[in-house]
């Protein structure tokens, strides 16, 4: 939050990354045969490569723990750098169990990871909330994992990653949504994911920067899929949070999708109202990175084109380091009322965060 005036209220930070310091921390939560499987085969890490170590985007200055673990792996440092300023932080652990092709192994790792999140994070700080990591390649097993944790008050979201082997709207993914809805959990779709398909729909790029830039297109296509396949009609309670997706591409996408739907809707007759309406009702986006223009007037127009300040949820994307923080890129240009919505009200309406106490909901940490 460098350089910006302190916000008047404690925000809810909807995208904070907790990292697995080393694979051994999961051993206690794995059955012996899986534990030996890891050791015997030399599986030493499932850390994803979404954030190459040396690149500045991967780590805020000062966010690398002195212990030597990856950024986001040290709770004390997280307390110091994030939790002091927020009411809640929602953890999105990106440890890449989604990459595993073996269905049983993936399911075992997901359960272990979630158990580890409970014991090493949720139980230790009540400002923390977490996302359920699921073995997404087998939606049935993913649904089981959601059932396992769905009633735990610390879990407030189901985490999917943007890149999948098939589009998320497709019906074989629906058990995930059914389970999420049963537990009043939104589905968060975060940047990253599996690599069956090239990140660009035109093949593999050479550079990381292209890869990261292209992630916005992945979100766009997933959103198109969710809408066109009728997921939100089938699951009217479902909320989807696009996380680290970028924000400003949304109006252009909705204009295009609305326009095409007007002519082509008979192919998807279950989509019985304009996609933009469906998206505004069911989809939220976290603000970091905002990817917006540099002027107040520019941001005002972006908000105007988005059509609602209820779509945005505050996030820091800690420990990742973007060109601008969300205050600088977006929040400082919003009215006080819009700020309050983005900083917390929209999140309270989206996530199962429990009753709030004071007007600012700062409760025991206020």
């Amino acid at each position: 939050m460098n350089g910006a005036p302190a916000p008047p209220i404690r925000p809810i930070d909807c995208d904070v990354h907790n990292a697995v310091p080393s694979i051994e921390v999961l051993y206690p939560y794995l059955e012996d045969h899986w534990r030996d499987y890891l050791v015997e085969r030399g599986v030493t890490s499932l850390e994803p490569n979404y954030y190459p170590r040396g690149l500045p985007i991967s780590c805020l200055p000062g966010a690398r723990p002195s212990s030597g673990g990856p950024p986001g792996s040290d709770l004390d440092l997280l307390r110091e750098q994030v939790l002091g300023g927020v009411r809640y932080a929602i953890l999105n652990c990106l440890y890449s169990i989604q990459s595993i092709h073996n269905e049983d192994w993936a399911a075992a790792m997901a359960t272990a990871l979630n158990q580890w999140q409970v014991e090493h994070w949720l139980d230790l700080d009540d400002r923390l909330r977490a996302s359920i990591v699921v073995p997404v390649r087998s939606p049935g097993r993913a649904a089981e994992e959601i059932e396992r944790w769905g009633d735990h008050p610390g879990f407030v979201q189901v985490l999917l990653l943007a890149r999948s082997s098939t589009p998320y709207g497709k019906r074989h993914h629906w058990p995930i949504y059914a389970a999420a809805v049963r537990h009043r959990l939104p589905v968060g779709i975060h940047a990253g994911g599996v690599t069956e398909n090239p990140i660009l729909p035109v093949g593999w790029p050479s550079h990381y920067v292209e890869d990261y830039a292209g992630a916005a297109q992945v979100f766009q296509t997933q959103l198109v899929s969710l809408v066109c396949e009728g997921v939100f009609g089938k699951f009217p309670e479902l909320r989807v949070v696009l996380t680290e997706s970028g924000v400003t591409w949304l109006p252009a996408l909705l204009w295009r999708l609305d326009k095409n739907w007007k002519g082509l809707r008979s192919e998807v007759p279950w989509v019985d109202r304009p996609p933009s309406e469906i998206v505004r009702e069911h989809v939220r986006l976290t603000v970091q990175p905002f990817d917006g223009p540099r002027t107040a007037e520019g941001v005002r127009r972006v908000m105007d084109h988005l059509g609602s300040d209820e779509l945005l949820l505050f996030s820091s994307d800690y420990p990742h380091w973007h060109a601008r923080d969300p205050y600088e890129s977006c929040l400082r240009h919003l009215s006080a009322e819009s700020q309050r919505r983005v900083l917390r009200e929209n999140s309270l309406a989206t996530y199962r965060l429990g009753p709030e106490t004071g007007p600012d909901g700062d409760g025991e940490h206020g």
Binding site: V231, K262, L264, S266, P269, W270
Partner: protein
């Protein structure tokens, strides 16, 4: 303004499922036969002016949930030949926005030639001016049956 009657076709010219596009008072108008009933619509799409009446005749597909299809009123919806918006031929309403986006429709009816030739007075008595239906360019036969359009 008084309405006028125009003879636009002999009934046989437009069989069920058929259409005829005519120009009346510089307006292009499509006349359709849906199961023996005649409907007339302005041949200009409210979206961007496409020649709507040259579009495909189709049904309306609805769905209660993904994977369920209900196909209604086959042959009674017109899809614009350009951007494919769907219009109900009976009402001129677009499916997208029935209240605001609609194409102008015109009253049609079938009249026997005899009535057209002999009963002008009666037609005019019902508030209609004498139309051009007796014109030589469109010979109306006493034993023919005609599609007439009110404009």
């Amino acid at each position: 303004m008084k309405k006028k009657l125009y003879v636009v076709a002999e009934v046989d010219e437009i069989p069920p499922g058929g259409r005829k596009i005519v120009e009346i008072e510089r307006r292009s108008i499509g006349v359709f036969n849906i199961n023996g009933e005649y409907f007339a619509l302005r041949n200009a799409c409210p979206h961007a002016g496409g020649p709507l009446c040259r579009g495909l005749l189709t049904g309306f597909l609805r769905s209660s949930e993904p994977g369920q299809y209900t196909y209604l009123r086959r042959g009674e919806f017109l899809r614009c030949p350009w951007h494919q918006w769907e219009f109900d031929i009976r009402t001129g309403q677009s499916w997208l926005d029935p209240d605001k986006t609609r194409v102008r429709t015109y009253q049609t009816r079938v009249e026997p030639g005899q009535a057209l030739l002999e009963n002008e007075v009666e037609l005019m008595g019902s508030g209609l001016t004498k139309g051009p239906y007796v014109a030589e360019t469109y010979p109306v036969h006493i034993d023919g049956r005609y599609v007439v359009l009110e404009l």
